[in-house]
Symmetry: C2
């Protein structure tokens, strides 16, 4: 029972490590254990095959632009490359947030402020922000943006789906948007002239926030400078930040 | 404002790294941010000084027995020593649990099963179990024990405070009980004859589960074999497992 389905998780891990499995689980709405315990129906096998195809195109790059030669562009699922000290810092920063969750998790805005500061430090990124999707699902609005240079918090910027359809499509379907060169990445190039260039941003690492099967917002890491290749360890850390915001959102929603 | 109090966190970190800060936060019920934003009243300074004393005695060892020469015994707050691959595995295992939280977190027993298997693999430990404190706070009962050799789950063992007062006192006051030599550690030596010896257990790494200021149980890692020195990275991972169980317990309690 479920041997075929379970085998897809092995393939997903080969393609993209733990995040590959995570993404397959997200796309199929099924864990490895569940996959093992249901029958390999043709419908489910087709779903898993289609989902794995989506992962395969991830690992070839984010779209047609990836085919163009560019030394600054790495595969969407980058190689793990942080050293032990960096990984230890990642764990420490997350653990710090977790131990303070009772104080933070009643308050989404305060959670965003803490996550933004923590992620800016841990990933050495100039700007980190948390955005929430509105009820009509056509617009995101920043509830906190942290700028490291001036240790400054702000909020209230809005971006609409009508202006950035490719980005909104990516938010709804991808686990992480690692735009190593944000000016050329098909998901983020629409931001180039009006947003990235004036702010000097070269790379984006954005992780949608998922709560019970719905995307409710996004955590954005904006690297000021040239293109930057995000590695798999940085993607995993960014994913942990998004999951932490999700924990607060889940708690607030249950009140 | 709060400069004296905040300085205690720096001292705590010097003593025990992130877990040192975590423990000071637990003992004082105050985060670094809160400490910075309140006045340095004599009462608070006294509380922080007393709490730091508790940490100092941690880092000297768990009690009088630590003074005795023993090559198998390391300081209670061990040195970080895992390599990058091990830390990456720790993060991956935790991330795997987090992505499945919607499926797990309605069910404390299922959460315990998954945590036990995950921790057994990640820390290379033969037996991992989750125990809950009863309402009278005089007894703990295992809701799941995973034994790796036979891939076997069981539950229902009870231990009472009357029989193991030193262990219960440690559960209520310490962040992690890293008993490198469980037969001689003052907190766990009472288990020696009746529990550790028959099961061949040499070392214990136990992390109390805290939910909103109350200790509600414990995650136990039991190493079968001789004494084993747990390092700070292993303690942090074990702490993450306890925090994950706490998330489920918090969710179940809110229903």
């Amino acid at each position: 029972m479920g041997a075929k389905l379970a085998a897809y998780f092995v393939k997903a891990e080969q393609l993209g490590g733990v995040l590959g499995k995570v993404r397959l689980s997200g796309l199929t709405r099924m864990t490895t254990t569940q996959a093992l315990n249901v029958d390999d129906t043709p419908e489910l096998v087709a779903l898993f095959e289609k989902s794995l195809d989506a992962l395969r195109s991830d690992s070839r790059g984010a779209g047609p632009a990836a085919a163009a030669p560019s030394s600054s562009r790495a595969p969407a699922m980058g190689q793990a490359s942080a050293d032990a000290a960096t990984l230890r810092r990642h764990i420490g920063v997350y653990l710090d947030l977790m131990t303070q969750r009772a104080l933070l998790q009643g308050d989404l805005r305060e959670t965003a402020r803490r996550v933004d500061e923590a992620a800016s430090q841990a990933l050495d990124v100039e700007r980190v922000s948390v955005w929430l999707l509105d009820d009509a699902r056509t617009r995101i609005e920043s509830i906190d943006l942290f700028e490291r240079a001036g240790h400054k918090h702000s909020s209230g910027v809005q971006l609409s789906q009508a202006d950035f359809p490719a980005y909104f499509a990516a938010l709804a379907t991808e686990r992480t948007i690692a735009a190593h060169d944000a000016h050329t990445d098909p998901r983020t190039q629409a931001f180039s002239k009006g947003y990235l260039t004036p702010l000097g941003i070269g790379a984006l690492l954005d992780v949608p926030i998922w709560v019970e099967g719905r995307m409710i917002g996004v955590v954005c890491h904006e690297h000021v400078g040239r293109a930057r290749t995000w590695n798999a360890d940085e993607e995993q850390f960014a994913y942990l930040m998004s999951a932490f915001v999700a924990l607060t959102a889940e708690r607030v929603a249950r009140r």
